[in-house]
Structures are given as C-alpha cells and as structure tokens.
C-alpha cells in the first residue's frame, strides 16, 4: 500500500465538504441528490481506507462499504423517483418552488 492513511482521510474530508456545500447551496433537486451521493461516497472511502490500513477491520470494512453502496443505490432510486414525480406536477426542478405546504 502506498502513501499513508492521512491522505485518504484528507481526500474523503474534501469530498464530504464538497458534497455538503453542494447539498446546501444548490437549488436543483438533481444536483442535491448528486451531492448526497458524493457525501455517501466520501464516507465509504473513509471506511475502506480504515479497512486497508487497520488489519483487524479489513473484512468488516468491506462488508460495511458494500452495505453503504446498496443503501446509496436504493436512496438514489427513491430520491430520483420523487424528484421526477414532483417535476411532473411543478414543471420545475428547483426546490425553492416546492412550497405548497408553507403558508
């Protein structure tokens, strides 16, 4: 294995920060979903990095990462389905416009 654990963690931290920023700042529902994927993958990267560098965690990390991938896939499916359903009603992907439940 090349490099150290730190570089992986820094990378995943950066990815997570980008995802968070995207989720908070973007108004487009599709972009927000993509940002969520980014955050999930940053977390996943951390997990596998720990699995690679800490021997006793190797199998656990692989299993957890697989579960996260499965959850992320399911989440993306449901999320996209919702976005498409709303888009058909509202004719817009911008979440600001989804305000029919506010006053």
């Amino acid at each position: 294995m090349s490099g150290s654990l730190d570089s992986y963690l820094v990378l995943s931290g950066l990815l997570f920060a980008i995802g968070t920023f995207g989720f908070l700042a973007r108004r487009n529902a599709i972009s927000m979903l993509m940002s969520i994927e980014l955050m999930l993958n940053a977390a996943n990267l951390t997990i596998v990095a720990f699995g690679a560098f800490v021997k006793p965690l190797q199998t656990h990390a692989a299993v957890i990462a697989l579960i996260v991938i499965a959850v992320a896939a399911a989440e993306a499916t449901v999320g996209l389905a919702i976005v498409i359903a709303i888009y058909r009603n509202k004719k817009t992907p911008l979440v600001d416009e989804y305000d029919s439940m506010s006053e």
Partner: protein, 654 residues
C-alpha cells in the same frame, strides 16, 4: 302491620304522579285523585297513630320501624330506606294528615276558578308526601330528603301565581333563605357521620353520649341552624311573611300548620342530642323567645290580614322553640299541635274573608263583615280566642304549659318575655278581628254587594277545624302536665328529662302553676279589652258593643316613645332593609369584585399564558421555512460545532 307505614307517604306520592300525568288532559277532574289520595293517607295515618298511642302491637311507645330496602349501600357508608313511628311521629301524623286533608277539601272551593287547579293539587300532594316522609324517616339522610322536598314544594306553591312578580320574588326569597339553614343541617348530618359512622336516628341517639363534648355542641348547633331556617326563627325569619304571596290554603297548610313545624319536630326528635349539649339549649330558648316578642311586635301594625297571621305564626313558633330550649319538650309538641289546628283554622278563615271581599287583603278596606259571612266570622272568633289563650280553649293549655315550664325550670327571663308576648298575642288578634269583622264597613262599595259566604267545601273544613281549636286542650292536655299527651310522649322524652337532672314538680293549681295561669289569663283579658276599646267589638250575645276609635289609635302611635316603636314595628324592625343592605347591596358589590377578580386576574392569567404561547409560536414559526437545505445547514453547523468542541476538549484535556 308495619307495612302500613310506607302506605302513608306513598298514597299522596301516587296521587301526585297521577294528577300531574292526567292534569293536562282532565284539568277539571284531576284534582279529585289528589283529594282521595290524601283522604286515604289520612285514614291509614290515623290508624297508625291510634295504634301507636294506645299500644297495639307492633306499634307502641318504643316505636316501630320498617326497613324497605338499603338505599345507599356503599362500602363504609350505609343509609336505609326506613320508616319509623313512635308517639312523637304519631302526634305529627295527626296534625299533618288531618290539616292536610281539610286544606285539600277547602282548596276545591278556593281554587275553583283557577285554570291551574290540577297543578295546585299535584303540588299539594307532593308536599304531603314530602312532609310525611320527613316525619316518618328513620335516618337523618331521609329526613334531609324530605326536608329539601318540602322546601321545594314551598317554593313551587309560594310562586304558584308566578306571573305575579312579587310571588316569584317571594318564592325565590323563601328558597334562598331556607338554603342557609339547610346547609347547616347538611353539615350537621356530615358531622354526625364522621363522629358516629351511622345516620340511623335510633343508633345515633343511643351512641351520642360517646361523642366528644365539643362535637356534641357543634352537631346540636348545626342541626339547630337547619331548624331555625325551616321554622323561620330569627335571624332566618324573613322569608315567612313574604311567603304569604302564595294561595291562602298553602299559607295555612305549609306556612302555618305543617312545614314550619319541621324545625320544632327536628329539635324535639333530636332531644337526646340537644339534651346532651345543654349549652345549646339556652341558645334555642333565646332564639325562640326573641323571635316570639319581635314577631308579635311587628304583628301589631301590619295591615295585610295574612301578614298579621304570618307574624303571629313566627311568634308562636318562637314559643315552641322557647319551650324546647327550657326543656319543656311535651309542652312544645302540645303547642305545635294546638297551634297547627287553630292557626290552620285562622289562615283558612282569612282565605275565606279574602275570597268573600274579592281578593282584598288590606284590613283597612274591610270591617263590619261579621253579619255578612257568619260562619267564617264565628270560626275565626273561635280561632282568635284559642290563640289568645283564653281558657278553656286549646291555646290556653299549651301556652300555659310553656310558660309554666319556663318558670319552673328556672328560665325566669324566658317566662317574663313569654308572659308579655301572651298579652301581645291577644291584642293583635283582636285588633285583626276588630278591623275585619266589627265596626263600620270600609269595603269598596263596588265589592260591597258581592260579599258572600264561601261555598260549603270551604266552610266545612272551617267548622271541622274549630272543634280541635276548642277541645284539643281539654282532650289531651287536661289535667295539666299529666294529661293524655304527657302519657303518650313520656317514652320519647323521659331519658332526656331524667338526664337533665330536673325532676318535674307536680302541677299545683293552688300554688305556683295556678298563680301563673291566672296571671297570664288576666293579662290576656286586659289586652283583649284594650283591643276592643281601640278597634271595636260587636258581640250582641254578650252585650258587647263598642265602636273603633281610629283617632285614639293615631294619637297613641304619635306619642314620642310610641312613635319609635310604631315605626320599628311597621317597618318590621328593618330586617328586610338590613338584609337588603348587607346581602344584596354589599354582597352584590363583593360579588362584583369577585367577578372582576375572576375576569381580570384568573382569566387574565389563563388567557395570558395562551397569548404568550401563541405569540411565541408565531415568532418561532419563521424558523420553519419548509426548505430542506435550511435544516440541513443547521445539521451541518451543529456537526461542525460538535466536532470543534470535541477537538478542543480532547486537546486541552491531554
């Protein structure tokens, strides 16, 4: 035979239900049911009373009861639906059912033209049921039920002509004033329960000696409070004169002969309680004798014929309380019975007078009626002589026993006041007779030629009632203090009298008793003659004839010392004004203040909490934007804060 007891109250109850159900459909005939129900009840009650008094088993001097069913069988609390009859009950039964029946008969004529006649008779039957329940009940809770029911009937009947405002107001007044007394009674019953754990009268009396003395006094005072309310004693007497707004048969039955006696009955029934709490006895005597003289003084100047009789009733009830207070128990019941008959008679007579002069109640617009309504006149004269205490009529014996009892039991002050009241009674009764029946006529000429004797259904009861008014004293009160009534009631009162330590001295005609009787009779005679001189008399058979002298009356009442008395008397000693000031005006202000406090402080606090909460909600609502990203920002910021905090702590701790 004990099964006869429930029949007595149930017959009028059935009569009430049937009359009330059928009255609307048969308004002209429904009252017959009510009358026959009361007649039947009278028959049964007479039988029971007779069996009790002459000791035919199962009835007898020790009393006999029947428990119908367990009324309130709660855990740790038990009240039975039970009836009980002993000689005291028997005496009350005689008075209540006899006068009740006669009043029913009388009302046929008196209420003949009233469209609400069936309603009137239904109420009367309900009243009979309630009163008989009160008299027959064997536990305090049942007595209280009857007590409240008679109060309700009194309210309904005073306000019988409810479209008349004064009647509605008087009914309300009677109800409210009675509530004050009833609350005392209710508290007394609760006190008995807490101390003894039973409400059955006989077991309460048997165990009462074991109660701590301060509780004995408290219970006696609370029961007295109830009795004072129902029997219209000072200071709760104000409702009775106003109760005269009801139809006159009601005044006779409820407000003279029966219901107002309930207080006297209660105290007499509870004689073991009052006998143990001897301090309260003095209070009873003081209240009674004060009411007697106060009411008699008011009766001097009233001009409404029924109000004179109402104040007379107060005064005579005061006598009974005084008798109870001095320990002359039998004398009190004796006076209750004789007063029931002659005051019932007088009220029915006054009703007959009012009926004959077309509804006029003001005695100043009467006069000279003696020849026009002879039966009414004759019976009312008998009633007046009886209440005045002229021997050998009923009132003489009973009043004499009260005064003698007060004197011999050491209550000289009670005797002295009672002695004066005896003279006052004779005076105001003959003032009433003079103004109503003798002298020149002041009847409205319009009404004058319509004046007629009442129908036979009205004069019949008058004649029947006149008989006990004359003979009752001789029949059951003679010879004095050893007569029939004393033999009958001895088992009821003997324990209390024995416990009081007073030995009843034998009646000595050539001694103290005879002297007292002659003294009272002399005073009564003087008072009657005085009334004749001032208000006239016209009894040709005795050669008595004198014209009223209104100028002398006026001159007398204008004298300086008399003027004040006159003013006090005619203003009923300002009791109504005091009550009005204290309870209506000041009480009203207090209520207004309480209302303000409730509205601003109590409701203000509650509403304030509501307003603040709602306002806070309105303000905080802005936080809820509905945008997921805003929430997510919160989560992210929170996460950053927590992570930073963790770092800072882990660095500094290490």
């Amino acid at each position: 035979m004990n099964a006869l007891l429930p029949l007595i109250p149930l017959l009028p109850l059935g009569g009430f239900l049937l009359t009330a159900l059928l009255g609307r459909r048969y308004p002209d005939d429904a009252h017959r049911i009510a009358i026959w129900a009361v007649v039947a009840s009278w028959l049964v009650a007479s039988l029971v009373a007779l069996m009790t008094l002459v000791h035919i088993a199962p009835f007898g001097p020790q009393g006999s009861g029947i428990t119908l069913w367990s009324w309130i069988p709660a855990i740790g609390f038990r009240a039975d639906m039970g009836l009980f009859a002993d000689p005291l009950t028997a005496c009350l039964l005689i008075v209540v059912t006899t006068i009740g029946m006669l009043v029913h008969v009388y009302s046929i004529g008196y209420m003949a033209h009233d469209p609400g006649r069936w309603r009137f008779f239904a109420y009367l039957n309900l009243f009979m049921f309630s009163m008989l329940l009160l008299v027959l009940a064997d536990n305090f809770l049942l007595v209280f039920a009857g007590w409240e029911l008679v109060g309700l009937c009194s309210y309904l009947l005073i306000g019988f002509w409810y479209p008349r405002r004064s009647a509605a107001v008087a009914a309300k007044k009677a109800f409210l004033v009675n509530r004050v007394g009833d609350m005392g009674f209710a508290l007394g019953i609760m006190a008995i329960w807490t101390q003894l754990g039973t409400l059955n009268m006989q077991s309460v009396f048997a165990k009462f000696g074991a109660v701590p003395h301060e509780w004995q006094i408290a219970i006696a005072l609370l029961l007295l409070c109830g009795a004072v309310g129902k029997s219209a004693q000072f200071p709760l007497h104000v409702w009775l004169p106003d109760a005269m707004e009801g139809p006159t048969p009601v005044s006779a039955l409820i407000h003279a002969a029966t219901m107002v006696n309930a207080g006297v009955y209660l105290v007499a029934r509870c004689n073991p309680i009052f006998g143990t709490a001897s301090e309260v006895m003095v209070v009873v005597a003081a209240i009674g004798i004060f009411t007697a003289i106060m009411a008699a003084s008011i009766a001097f100047t009233q001009t409404d014929i029924k109000r004179v009789l109402a104040y007379s009733t107060l005064s005579q009830l005061g006598y009974m309380f005084a008798a109870l207070g001095v320990g002359a128990w039998t004398a009190a019941i004796f006076h209750l019975m004789s007063h029931g008959f002659f005051k019932g008679l007088l009220f029915l007579d006054s009703g007959s007078v009012i009926h004959s002069v077309g509804g006029e109640q003001d005695m100043r617009k009467m006069g000279g009626l003696a020849r026009k309504i002879p039966t009414t006149y004759a019976t009312m004269l008998i009633g007046s002589i009886a209440i005045a205490g002229v021997p050998p009529l009923a009132g003489f014996f009973s009043k004499d026993e009260i005064l003698g009892g007060a004197f011999k039991n050491g209550f000289l002050w009670v005797w002295a006041i009672g002695f004066v009241v005896a003279g006052m009674t004779a005076f105001y009764m003959f003032r009433l007779m003079g103004m109503t029946f003798w002298g020149p006529s002041h009847v409205d000429p319009e009404v004058e030629h319509h004046v007629h004797e009442s129908p036979r259904s009205m004069t019949g009861p008058l004649i029947v009632l006149a008989i006990p008014a004359v003979l009752l004293g001789l029949a059951i009160g003679f010879p004095p203090e050893t007569g029939l009534l004393h033999q009958w009631l001895a088992p009821v009162f003997e324990h209390t009298i024995a416990a009081s330590g007073r030995t009843e001295a034998a009646y000595t005609f050539f001694g103290i008793d005879g002297t007292l009787a002659i003294g009272t009779t002399a005073l009564v005679a003087i008072a009657i003659v005085l009334a004749w001189r001032l208000f006239g008399v016209e009894i040709p058979a005795l050669g008595l004839r004198s014209q009223p002298r209104p100028d002398q009356v006026r001159a007398l009442s204008a004298r300086r010392t008399m003027a004040l008395l006159y003013k006090g008397s005619s203003n009923k000693w300002w009791f109504d004004d005091i009550n009005n000031k204290v309870f209506v005006e000041w009480g009203g202000k207090l209520a207004a203040a309480a209302f303000w406090f409730d509205q601003t402080v109590i409701d203000g606090t509650v509403n304030g909490i509501g307003t603040v909460t709602a306002g806070a909600g309105m303000a905080l609502r802005r936080v809820q934007t509905g945008r997921v990203q805003n929430y997510a920002l919160g989560i992210a910021l929170g996460l950053i804060v927590m992570a930073a905090g963790y770092l800072v702590i882990s660095v500094t701790v290490r």
